[in-house]
Symmetry: D2
Subunit: 365 residues, 4 copies
């Protein structure tokens, strides 16, 4: 391990947008240039830029002022896996391995190590590149906070803030109109945003992928509140929430007794089921991309910055094939392969679920 | 006109939720009690409470602390027109005039004048009550800002702030992903929120009900930006925006060549049309009820407060059958019938549209 | 008047920072380049750059993305009056007229018209340049909103939002601690920020320069609230608020019976006087420069953009020696000399003061 | 240990205001009532209410809607230590032990256990009460985040957000005016707010109590930036920051060569020293009480809620003399005596300081 070994690095951001990407890039460039006298090449649009050699030199001036700004100055994409790259010939698309081009472009630029900032998809590619001999370090990113190898990913705190603010807004309208207001938030496999924003925003019902819900239980909760003279309710639903098998309301939906024009995602299904069963006006709001944008919270700016500095420290220390992570309150690192194994789901009997239940929040079970 | 004439008033909030309702209620109660020694009865849930005699005395203590809080402590509803009230008998619903009950309840409470805070629907009812002899004054409310009798309604500035903040968030994601991000905002008949938030948020395209859009013009704008190396675009669409008759993209939609599962409102139609024609990833976010909630902006709190004080001044001065309004920067009043005549639309050749066009924003025409 | 006459303009920002300066610059450049094919030269740091010939060409690319960002990319300063410019020789500073350099630099760059964005100081200089033959148009800026020639300056709405948010924060602490919380805001000569934020934030006392206050009246208000079981109060004080001549509390201060270490501005004097007279813990917060920074509100972004477009329309129409302004809700223009005459003070018997008083807010008189 | 043992509890909030107090109270009441069928008595204004028997029954209705609201519905105070209570007789104040009254009032209300929400002062009193036989559990609160027994206190994240937002605002003004902007934040003994907000807001200099600063080093940093054509700088100073002994600038201050009128706290001293040494305009903003108020962030609402639930779990489990705390990401508990021992200072060689230094931030050493 020789600290002087690496003199030139590449960096890219991959996967969906998340608040804090720019803060990581800034910390990577500043630390590399100032502390270790490395030069930095930024690849554009995730692995796409690495495949097509879309790259630019990055100095401290390039990252000035980007700390509080959402998005990524390098661009990003959910596509362009070099091991599974789409090639269209004669109207037909096949997927091929173009990773040779990646190694070639790395070589052309004289790059000795690569920093990959991304979610499980990007980190899996990073790990495969490492297996094939590239010096790679990873920085974990997902607003869903569902990477098992780290206690927190950057972007989550900002998404949580956005969801909580939305719930605050819906709360007053729910109360004024005696309505049931449903907020559908991100979380296809893990319910962290839904659970955390539901607790922070004082929701009455929270439905997450980890706990299949019984719509009758939800309806009962709404009706119980009515009996207590609480004429309104708020419900947070993760996009990946699922009804119990054989759920009557869902059957009704399948059988077409719900208005098909209004039918959207799971949030809409819940709103219709609740309105149908309780007679209370129910409305759904799908928060969508708003959760991925905007200026990162102070917490996310700091975590992103720590990750960026930590990634370059890893590079300098020769800690390749690893990813920075947060363990408790401390910065640490783990092998990339550990990062891309399984999801970090909400434990159905964990503290946060228990907290919600003790407050009287219905989890649908 | 005798200032001592009115000693007891009623107040209600009707129509959709809007930030500032509580601020009006607070100003109404404080001014009535402190300045004119009037007592105040609050009717719950719009005209519904007036019909069903759901009422409570209101003192200054009841309105303490509600100034910054969204919604209305009196409750509101979009239904319950006393001149067109649904009665269901034998499974059949007919609509009847129950306004007698309203006059009866007013009489039971010894109320001499009624303050109605609401949109064009509620103000039309207020006007009809006035025509039948009730002493009524109105306070104009709509987040759409489309009442012809006032230069600004409360709630609009907050809705505008929410829409602009959303556009700011989508902007960075659009830029990072080289996408077209479409934001659908409220405005069924008037495009004020769309036009104002589009200018404030730096949108590239703004589509409003007043200017039927040609999708080819929108597509050309996106393509022109691509040629200038601007790989992303943001579009704000009012929910009431409409394509030109015979619009090809719309025909395609009708003919089913668009994915029906994704098909939602007009924002979705625009996103699909743009993606189809430009090949650029396009995403839609429907802001929905978020525009009606939350703490009112400073401007809306002040306007609401001025309206509340002004309404009681009108009552004290015997200015019945009138509505407070804003003319330029000054508080004024107009007859209620003027308020409910026609909508205040965005003039297609007005200053704000001209400003947008000079900045290079595409209005779809 | 020939629309083709002006082909090259200069632009500068002068005076104190205000949210919206960048939005004006952006609209000026976009409109000039896109609509009128003018080229634009930006002078740096107010009139200083015009004197020292610190200038740069400005294209649309230079103003991309600056709409939501506070401050000014051109830089600004409160100094550097070309008609009263400090020259230091032999340790002694004298003030000389260096306006020849301004005309020379304008000529060097081939500039035919100058857009000056600034407050009364900068606009007075602009007017004097116009009197000496320069083609000048002005854009009014001051967070104090005290220019008599326009109903609203940009920057004010954002400053108001910041002050109101601060008051919201102090409110809960005041209530929790049963304290008197004093917020000192900007407004040396005019009390618009104090009056508007005080109404928006539900203050109990508002002290403004236009209404000299009697501290006994303030103390009585606090004590009256205590009798009503309201154990806390909030006070907003404009930095230019002044006690009535002969005010006892002020005399005490002058005589040294107040703690000199704690003594700061007028906010501190009020806090000490109130604490001394009521025995209630009183704390002051001076908001200071926070009012000048940050992303402009949607309203300010729109007003700034309208002003920027309007200024170039004026240039194109040959409307020199004039300043854009807002009359009611409409964009208009007035002679520069009208703009720099007298301040727009809060009328002591105007609607906003009356609104405050009817709500029970104490103005100190 | 018998879960049914405690059927009636008391709760109070003590010390300085902090965002999240209401969220803790809400969780305490809801969990006690719903889960354990306990009744709850709230004491007003910290230990003062316990001494003077100012108390009220608390039901779920009393805590409805308070989750997002700053402050404490129970009131709080920094005074009223029952072991050191001021009694004034004949104009002379002595301090006496009135803890008998506390035990008496607890007995009068039939309270079996007491929940104390507060900082080190309140928790020390709680511990002393426990030593004398009272069943007490604690909840740690301080916006300074300097309690050694927990990894995070509630209120800190909100204070950090407020400080970061302030720094964002000052940043654009600093840049526009080429000024040095100094932000003084809370932190008498520990620099967590200063360090974290400085990193999050991109400060150039951060001065904290744990690292005595050399003003020459600060000045050199500002000058180095000027050489790199960065004409502005931002500095965050904790109120407890201290210059190195023998610091020249401080000597000058003591000798009176600084303007005494402008002289305020340490932030002002730094601003004057920097302006004097660099010739750059320098301005200070003291954030003060704004850091204690406002709606808690989502993180603080969740942490407060977890603490409130956890405290009642402790009561139910008989874990008296203990305080809930956060260890890493997990809720835990520690003896109260551990909580009030020593402060949790910023380690001068810890990760966060290293991160700051690697980014090029000057810590004054």
């Amino acid at each position: 391990m020789n600290k002087a070994a690496v003199k030139r690095i590449g960096v890219l951001t991959g996967g969906g947008d998340a608040p804090g990407l720019n803060a990581v890039i800034r910390a990577v460039v500043k630390t590399a240039v100032r502390v270790y006298s490395m030069s930095v090449v930024g690849f554009e649009n995730g692995f796409g830029g690495l495949i097509k050699n879309q790259a630019r030199e990055m100095s401290e001036a390039d990252v000035a002022g980007i700390l509080p700004i959402g998005g990524t100055i390098l661009g990003t994409t959910n596509r362009d896996n070099p091991f599974h790259y789409p090639v269209t010939r004669g109207g037909e698309t096949t997927f091929v391995d173009v990773s040779d081009r990646v190694f070639e472009n790395i070589s052309i630029h004289g790059i000795e190590a690569l920093v990959v900032i991304g979610g499980d998809g990007s980190l899996a590619i990073a790990n495969e590149l490492y297996d094939r001999g590239m010096k790679v370090v990873g920085v974990p990113k997902t607003i869903d906070n569902d990477l098992s190898a780290t206690d927190q990913t950057f972007g989550f705190d900002t998404a949580l803030a956005t969801a909580t603010e939305a719930l605050d807004k819906l709360h007053t309208t729910a109360e004024s109109h005696h309505r049931v207001m449903v907020l559908e938030v991100m979380g296809r496999y893990a319910g962290w945003i839904a659970l955390a924003s539901g607790i922070a925003g004082g929701a009455d019902v929270i439905l997450i992928p980890e706990i299949p819900y019984n719509i009758d239980v939800v309806v009962e909760k709404i009706n119980d509140r009515s009996k207590e003279k609480k004429k309104f309710s708020t419900i947070v639903v993760a996009e990946g929430a699922k009804p119990l098998d054989g759920d009557i309301m869902v059957k009704k939906k399948v059988e077409g007794s719900f208005d098909p024009i209004r039918l959207g995602g799971i949030g809409d299904a819940v709103a219709q089921a609740v309105e149908s069963a309780t007679g209370k006006e129910s409305r759904v709001t799908v928060l969508g991309h708003l959760q991925r944008g905007g200026s990162p919270t102070a917490f996310d700016r700091i975590l992103s910055t720590r990750y960026g500095v930590g990634a370059i420290n890893l590079v300098a220390a020769g800690g390749f094939g690893r990813m920075v992570c947060l363990k408790g309150q401390h910065l640490d690192s783990v092998p990339l392969e550990a990062a891309v194994g399984e999801l970090r789901n909400v434990p159905a009997d964990g503290e946060l679920v228990m907290v919600a239940k003790k407050l009287g929040i219905c989890l649908g079970d």
